[in-house]
Amino acid sequence: MTRTRKPGVNRRATLAMMGAGAATLAMPWVARAQAKTIKVGMPTILSGRVAQLGTSSRNGVMIEVDKVNAAGGLAGRQIEMVIRDSKGQPQEAARVARELVNTDGCELLIDAEASSGAFAVHEVARDLGVLCIHTNSETSALTADPKQHIPNAFRTARQGVHDSIVGGSYAASISKAKGLKKWATCAPDYAYGRDTTGEFTTYLKRFAPDTEIISESWPKLFQADYTEVVTKILQAKPQALYSCLWGGDLTSYIDQANIYALFSQMEVFAVNMADYTALTVVKNLPKGIHSGNRYIKTYPATAENAAWGDAYKAKYNEYPTNWSWENATAIMLLAEASKKTNSADGKKLAEALRGLKIKSPFGADGTVTMRAEDQTLVGYAIGWGTTIPQEPYVPQVQAGDWKTIFELEAEWKKSKGYT
């Protein structure tokens, strides 16, 4: 933009120029849109207790970005990832996201934040209009609630309500077979724990109406000691326990519950157990904990999935996490959308992403779809099984049925007033 006013330029043209200038300042990525490389910003959690998940998100993205770049990039432009630590704090995530776009000139955003941060980044995406893919937040409302809907935001993470439907129906079938009527729950006391537990018990009761919840525990997130929670559950004498504790909290809980022999006294359903971060850390993993699949290279039991898991392990010397595949999927979708449009422009990509179906190692039937109506991922592999203390950790996974998921999800949306 030029700041000198030439004689003869009329008022209208001056205003137009000023408007363009203001827009350039407010949306610098527009001005830089023709740069050779395309910068993709990624706020994620690289320090603190869940840093491992942030690192695995970065790894998941990088393994796919390298492939895309080797194949020529996004419409001929090499991807340059700009990855910043949000420390897991929502306000920091929002600040970093804004800075990545406005200062660093990132044209796309991969939001690899947990739910707390994702909602903050979502508002930044709403404000700036930049294409943003949420890769880790599983809170259903992020895409299900029409108030949250913006055309430029997508989600490649699994969704809490999907997990709950599959988990509830799986748990109900075990419940009926084994006569488990009295249930206890134990979940971390924040949005994810509360919502997920609520949804799980709703579907458990729906599929097995004679079950009842006789005890609830809400330890705080990252609590060091769960002894009082363990003994409280023992006192209640339930036949089954549901927990959505995760990561180090879950492994702590297992170690502490183990010495009270809790696992021999009730069936345990821990949705987040079957993730390598937890499976490989617990030294004395009790046999027979029921878990949802997070990421496991043996489910779906396809050569593509096994190869992806092994390639990741070979590159980073550890197995992928749930966050790894969700982030990898974002890049896979972007690459396909860019192929279709032959463009790396956010708006065009967003258009192509809506309803896009791609081949994927993580798909229940070898494909995943970015559902057009609410711009969230469906068709990914989802199932439950029981764990054993060594590889393959979950030998038999009972697959969730997407037809049922869609039906109940539609019903759930209606009950929430979303549709």
Binding site: S47, G48, R49, A51, Q52, T55, E216, S217, W218, K220, F222, Q223, A224, D225, T227, E228, V229, V230, T231, K232, L234, Q235, G247, G248, D249, T251, S252, D255, Q256, N258, I259, Y260, A261, T277, V281, V282, K283, N284
Partner: protein, 300 residues
């Protein structure tokens, strides 16, 4: 609020035994951390904000020693001895420089080391959480006492912590070294004038405090997940314990820790949604009625 469960529990011996031991377990580990904190404050007049790091290092040292040697006893020893050494070095090299300084300066130095120590752990052991695993000797069925469930490992844990409390109490009250330490707390100038090396005492007390926190970390390692930053949550509760018990009082730390343990244990039955709040509420009540804490007057 769920008072029925609470009264039901108080009426049942099985529940009473289980919940009381549960309270002791939480309390005794807290005590080991808090007593170091209170000791360091009592003698050095420094609030060691980085104390949680010693708990963390104790756990990591124990885990590494256990992985290398397979010996649980050696793991405990390494956890305690390693952090004692670390405490000594930390005090001599860094803390000793800020004794006369403003309280804010001391706080800043300590806080800096909270971050530095966390990063050191991250560099050495990695950012992911770890688990030491329960030694096979303790992988046995829990004991049933009057119908209540008590894991054998927790009996050991309570035993070790109680012995530490007794040895510490007697050591300070009855031995010559203990008298010198108490004297140094009371009037360091006079002790120094009598030809006693106060630097050595300060270093020793800091090492002792670090060792106790390290021991707590080592004892907790088989049942808690190990992560950089794990010391912080323990530190907050230890502060509550020392504030309730009275800064500088060992007996206060013991009683305060057990009280907090019991509040957590029985509170989770009666007030499942307000267990954390109960601790703070109790602290407020103590502070309002006795601003120096329950035993705050023991050390002037």
């Amino acid at each position: 609020m769920d008072l029925d469960t609470l009264t039901g529990c108080l009426a049942s011996s099985a529940c009473l035994v289980t919940q009381t031991t549960s309270g002791f377990i939480i309390g005794m580990l807290l005590f080991l951390v808090a007593v170091g904190l209170t000791l360091i404050f009592g003698v050095l007049k420094v609030v060691n904000f980085s104390h949680g790091a010693f708990y963390m290092f104790g756990a990591y040292f124990a885990m590494t020693a256990y992985q290398l040697s397979g010996s649980f006893a050696l793991a405990m020893l390494c956890g305690a001895a390693g952090t004692a050494l670390l405490g000594l070095v930390f005090e001599r090299v860094f803390m000793s420089r800020v004794y006369g300084a403003d309280v804010l300066m001391q706080l800043l130095v300590c806080y800096a080391f909270v971050l530095i120590f966390d990063d050191v752990v991250r560099m050495i052991w990695g950012p992911e959480f770890k688990s030491m695993g329960m030694p096979s000797a303790f992988q046995v069925a829990p004991l049933f006492i009057a119908g209540g469930v008590v894991p054998p490992y927790y009996l050991l844990l309570i035993g070790v912590a109680l012995s530490a409390a007794v040895i510490l109490g007697l050591g300070l009250a009855r031995t010559k070294v203990g008298k010198v330490i108490r004297a140094a707390a009371h009037n360091p100038g006079m002790v120094s004038a009598l030809g006693i090396n106060t630097g050595l005492i300060y270093g020793g007390v800091f090492a002792l405090g670090g060792m106790l926190a390290g021991l707590a970390g080592a004892l907790a390692a088989p049942v808690r997940s190990l992560t950089p930053g794990m010391g912080f949550s323990v530190l907050i509760e230890s502060f509550i314990v020392t504030v309730i018990g009275g800064m500088g009082s060992i007996l206060g730390a013991l009683i305060g820790a057990i009280l907090i343990g019991m509040i957590r244990s029985f509170g989770s039955l009666g007030f499942p949604l307000f267990t954390e709040g109960l601790m703070y509420l109790f602290m407020v009540i103590v502070l309002v009625s006795r601003p120096t804490g329950l035993f705050g007057k023991e050390v002037a």
